[in-house]
């Protein structure tokens, strides 16, 4: 998809700033009017380039919301005509599934699952995922700690280390 320079600039601003940044401020940063910025945002949403305003949340800090994330390597037998797409679709429709990627290498699909407990994830894998027709095998890796997620470093001391006034 070919985007204009300003559309790309607005995307870059959104990517590098929190989703809460007001439209007025985006407009100033990109040297646009507020109306122009709104038009660009609408257009980007309509084109599904701007898919979602995301927040990265470190749930491990929130009592009772810790949750469990697992990455599951799945080997499947691709079906004639639909290849991997059909089985991928059957997997990504489960609400527990956060992401599904088709991979090259030792296995075919990489599936990321989020559940409330280890038990819940284990049950999902054994009862839902493994029992799918074309799934040959699964290997489940539980995530023990998130250091960096989608470009954001967790647990980082980001205090400004500069002195308050300098030349």
């Amino acid at each position: 998809m070919k985007l204009t320079e300003k559309q790309i600039e607005v995307l870059a601003i959104l990517e590098n700033n929190s989703a809460r940044i007001p439209v007025e401020d985006i407009a100033k940063m990109a040297e646009l009017s507020k109306a122009e910025t709104e038009t660009i945002l609408d257009k980007l949403e309509e084109m599904k380039v701007l898919v979602r305003y995301n927040s990265v949340i470190d749930w491990s800090k929130v009592d009772g919301h810790e949750g469990v994330t697992a990455m599951i390597d799945v080997k499947v037998a691709p079906k004639r005509g639909v290849g991997f797409d059909e089985v991928a679709q059957r997997i990504y429709r489960f609400k527990e599934v956060r992401s599904v990627y088709l991979m090259s290498g030792a296995y075919d699909l990489s599936v990321i699952i989020e559940g409330r407990s280890m038990n819940e994830v284990a049950r999902f894998v054994s009862e839902k995922l493994s029992t799918l027709d074309s799934v040959l095998s699964t290997t489940t890796h539980f995530i023990l700690k998130k250091y960096k997620h989608d470009g954001t470093i967790f647990e980082q001391n980001e205090d400004d280390k500069r002195i308050v006034v300098s030349p």
Partner: protein
């Protein structure tokens, strides 16, 4: 001491302490201050650069380098200046790696000045120029730029202050504190004066990487000027490496070799670990610099427009990371403004008069701060102005 004799040199005794010091002391110990008072990037040095320095330590590179710096680094600097700025210097005889642009300025002035020689300083200017000229035995001659001209120096202003003793002009583009950047034709006009009166030009290009609007022109690329130019630059600003204390200076061989004598006796060489870091910065840090620059530009656009909306009128700075708004609408002096704003709203800015008389009526705000903090700072300045606007 019997109380009458001073042990200090007259030059040092007469040196004014930096006005920045007072504001540093004032702000120190205050909690929750948003600092727009800093003359340095808010980015941490790119990790690949820090990692290279750590590796150099692990490998035991802890001894002196050649006086002029690691040959490999000087070669890389030569390539960087050639590719990035279109000016070629010999890594063997025309480039010296220094302890920041600060030391480069110092050895440049000491290498060229005899007692009483005059050096023209275009103000508002970086706080070090005037004292460094004095320390080198020279006489600083300040020329004031006007906000009506976007703080650009006009050739006729220069011509007015030139005397038989004038030896050099110090230029800084993009400028600290105004952010003003001079374009090719403006530099050309200054070059004609340098030619006419046979002057050297110390071109402080430390902010060259942070030029937002239009092409950046290095003074040395102006026709006939390379032989008159002492080009000062470094890694502090563009590469976010202020604490590493690493800069460099490029100049024709006779001047370079004179500077090298001073450097060799006074400093031996720049820190080795920092030189390895700089080498990595030049080899792989360019995309980091690009990213940082884009981010500064967006913040500049936001911050300068917001200041203007608040009534602190401000020209659009072409480079560096400073906005230099007029505070005349408040009727306060720049020192009063900065002090009150700090005490009442906990926003630190630097009063403009610190950078020379022509800076009075302005404050320097660094927008090298996160968007969140800039947004909050604008809010607080807005509150402050509601209370402190002249009727």
């Amino acid at each position: 001491m019997n109380g009458t004799k001073s042990y200090l040199s007259k030059t040092v005794e007469e040196l004014k302490p930096s006005g920045i010091r007072r504001f540093f002391d004032l702000a120190a110990g205050m909690e929750g201050v948003i600092s727009l008072g800093v003359g340095e990037p808010d980015f941490i040095t790119p990790w690949s650069v820090r990692e290279a320095a750590i590796l150099s330590l692990e490998q035991g590179y802890t001894s002196y380098t050649a006086n002029a710096g690691l040959m490999e680094l000087r070669e890389e600097i030569a390539g960087y200046m050639q590719k990035g700025f279109g000016v070629s210097y010999s890594p063997r005889s025309e480039i010296i790696v220094t302890v920041g642009a600060s030391q480069a300025l110092d050895i440049a002035l000491r290498a060229i000045l005899d007692p009483g020689d005059e050096v023209i300083v275009v103000e508002p200017s970086f706080v070090s120029y005037v004292p460094l000229v004095s320390l080198a035995g020279g006489v600083p001659v300040q020329v004031q730029t006007l906000k009506e001209n976007g703080f650009k120096i006009l050739p006729e202003q220069l011509e007015k202050v030139i005397t038989d003793r004038t030896k050099a002009i110090i230029l800084c583009s993009p400028n600290n504190p105004t952010g003003t950047m001079l374009n090719g034709s403006e530099l050309e006009a200054i070059a004609q004066i340098a030619e006419k009166y046979d002057l050297l030009v110390l071109s402080d290009e430390i902010y060259a990487e942070l030029a937002y609007d239009g092409e950046y022109t290095s003074f040395a690329t102006i026709s006939g000027m390379k032989k008159r130019t002492i080009l000062i630059s470094g890694f502090s600003k563009g590469f976010a490496m202020t604490g590493w204390r690493l800069g460099f200076v490029c100049a024709p061989e006779t001047i370079s070799q004179a500077m090298l004598k001073i450097h060799q006796y006074a400093m031996m060489c720049a820190p080795t670990m920092a030189q390895f870091a700089a080498l990595e910065a030049l080899k792989t840090g360019r995309s980091d610099v690009e990213d940082m620059k884009k981010s500064y530009k967006r913040r500049r656009n936001y911050f300068v427009q917001s200041l203007n909306e608040l009534g602190l009128t401000c020209h659009v700075p072409g480079g560096a990371f400073y906005a230099f708004p007029s505070i005349e609408s408040t009727g306060l002096s720049s020192e009063e403004f900065a002090e009150k704003l700090l005490l009442e709203e906990k926003v630190a800015v630097v009063p403009g008069n610190i950078f020379g008389e022509s800076g009075e009526g302005h404050v320097r705000c660094s927008y090298a701060t996160s968007m969140e903090l800039l947004q909050e700072a604008i809010k607080r300045i807005g509150h402050f102005l509601k209370r402190n606007q002249k009727a």
